[in-house]
């Protein structure tokens, strides 16, 4: 008689059919508009930076895993994404050596020392950028104007919209910010391109909608509040939404599956906290842009958020008050 084997396992019993490489591959696809926009606005230089960062990230991951005698997990595409995201938050004029150094730090210190994909506390690409920011503070804040490659070999330096706002109290037209055509990091140039990719990921349900909603919503509400208090001193809320790396951060970094909360309530907490930090840093901090630090700081408290927002198990009852 045929023997029946019943496999008994604990929850979860319903599994998604999406594999890690498939999700990562989709994220790369979603990043294509932003990459294309960066190449349109900043020329071949942007493409070279992207290639450098991706190649350095992939190579670092390979070398690190070989040295540690761990299975090489290049095929999951995660190192490629880290490379692309890092390049998108770098200024276009950065030297290739610096970009490669940032990539090495991102993968080695941001990810592999914690045990690789799934174990890292901080978003690797942002770790790389934070390292570069502290290492080469001048280079990391030297921006070139978009389309300056067409004008000739000498790059025209330009301030970012947020820098202009902080230093000279001057705001840039929102439509210009939305389409692109402003100074900034590769991926900061065009909010529209990032939105297209982010929308695609939302449609595929690969990112949690609550995080960007809470993040952008908080920035918008607080931005409106300050604008209503003193419109001459504080920029309007749409400026906040479209300037700097907020769109890129909200859709591609705050939603990182590894470093952001897993619970629905946690996503709200994460987004609201990060939005609060962005506004505080942008309006009262010493640096023009706060997206990087807001996400890194919220990454640090993610385990805590997860712990305190654990959903109730079905059937679990509130403890009776005594």
């Amino acid at each position: 008689m045929e023997e029946h084997v019943f496999v008994i396992s604990s929850a979860p019993h319903v599994e998604s059919t999406d594999s890690i490489p498939q999700i990562m591959y989709t994220v790369v696809l979603a990043l294509i508009p932003a990459m294309a926009a960066s190449v349109i606005f900043f020329g071949v230089r942007a493409l070279v930076l992207l290639v450098t960062c991706v190649a350095s990230c992939v190579l670092t991951e390979y070398v690190f895993q070989r040295v540690r005698q761990k299975p090489v997990t290049l095929s999951d595409w995660s190192a490629v994404i880290t490379g692309i995201l890092l390049a998108l938050v770098l200024p276009p004029g950065l030297s290739l050596f610096s970009a490669a150094l940032g990539s090495i730090v991102a993968i080695a210190i941001g990810k592999q020392v914690f045990g690789g994909l799934g174990y890292n506390i901080f978003n690797p690409a942002l770790v790389g950028r934070a390292f570069l920011q502290a290492t080469f503070p001048v280079d990391m804040t030297t921006w070139v104007a978009p389309f300056s490659y067409a004008a000739g070999p000498d790059a025209v330096s330009a301030a970012t919209p947020l820098g202009l706002m902080k230093m000279e109290g001057q705001t840039t037209a929102v439509i210009k910010l939305f389409i692109g055509n402003v100074g900034g990091s590769l991926g900061e140039a065009s909010a529209l391109a990032v939105l297209i990719g982010g929308g695609y990921l939302l449609y595929k349900k690969y990112i949690e909608w609550r995080t960007p909603a809470a993040y952008l919503g908080t920035v918008f509400v607080l931005g409106t509040l300050f604008w209503l208090i003193d419109g001459s001193k504080y920029p309007n809320p749409f400026f906040h939404l479209t300037a700097g790396g907020l769109m890129l951060g909200a859709f591609f970094m705050a939603t990182d599956m590894v470093t952001s909360p897993v619970t629905p309530v946690g996503c709200w907490v994460f987004g609201i906290g990060a939005g609060l930090l962005v506004i505080v840093i942008r309006l009262f901090g010493g640096v023009p842009e706060g997206v990087m630090f807001s996400i890194l700081l919220m990454n640090a408290v993610t385990p805590l958020i997860n712990r305190y927002t654990k959903p109730k198990v079905f059937g679990e009852r509130m403890r009776a008050k005594s």
Partner: protein, 214 residues
């Protein structure tokens, strides 16, 4: 202080002292910073240049050797209940000597090290050696133990100082060795660079030790 530390650190008393093996113990197998993880506060704080690391190491070693000698001499006179207080008074005496010496003869270094010279009083390496070794062993052996541990501390601090100074400013002991092509990594002479280099150093050494053990 756990008893195991004392066991590891005390070679059986009848054996002839093997000075070379002792040095290997202080520099590598029981390196105060990388293997015992003691004295991390000065390690992080003053290794932004090679000269600062070296000076801190030398000052600590002086205090360590002197107080180990005195503690070992009076080890049978001190009641067990007040031993820590006694050690602290002895250590504080030598720290004052070291502090005044640095301030009088090397004012720039004394200024660069700041409060970390007086803080040698609470350095765990020193108190640890008194508790684990000097208070249980004769003076000569205690001096040798203090010397090898001090050398381990000096070597570690100087190495970290050299690495951070090269990467952070392109210099060693204030002498420029990397040309103008090198763009200094500012982060390495900032506190974040201390944590990064110490952490990476620890990781590499743990990796090597893990490999030695097989």
């Amino acid at each position: 202080m756990p008893d195991t530390a004392a066991e590891i650190s005390t070679p059986s008393s009848r054996e002839q002292l093997d000075v070379l093996a002792e040095f290997k113990r202080g520099l590598w197998t029981e390196n105060p910073v990388f293997r015992q993880l003691l004295g991390l506060c000065p390690t992080l704080a003053v290794t932004n240049s090679a000269i600062n690391g070296l000076a801190m190491g030398l000052a600590t070693t002086f205090v360590l050797i002197s107080s180990s000698f005195i503690v070992s001499l009076i080890r049978k006179l001190v009641p067990n209940q007040v031993r820590i207080a006694t050690f602290t008074v002895i250590i504080a005496t030598f720290v004052t000597v070291a502090e005044l010496f640095l301030a009088a003869l090397f004012p720039p270094i004394s200024k660069a090290l700041g409060p970390y010279v007086p803080l040698i009083v609470v350095n765990c390496i020193i108190l640890g050696r008194q508790e684990a070794f000097a208070s249980k062993n004769p003076p000569l052996k205690s001096i040798l133990d203090a010397l090898v541990m001090g050398c381990g501390f000096i070597a570690t601090l100087t190495t970290l100082g050299i690495v951070r100074e090269i990467l952070g400013s392109g210099m060693i002991f204030g002498v420029r060795i990397l040309g103008s092509w090198f763009k200094p990594w500012l982060i390495m002479i900032l506190p974040a660079g201390a944590f990064l280099s110490l952490g990476i150093g620890l990781g590499i050494i743990n990796h090597i030790v893990g490999r030695e053990k097989g």
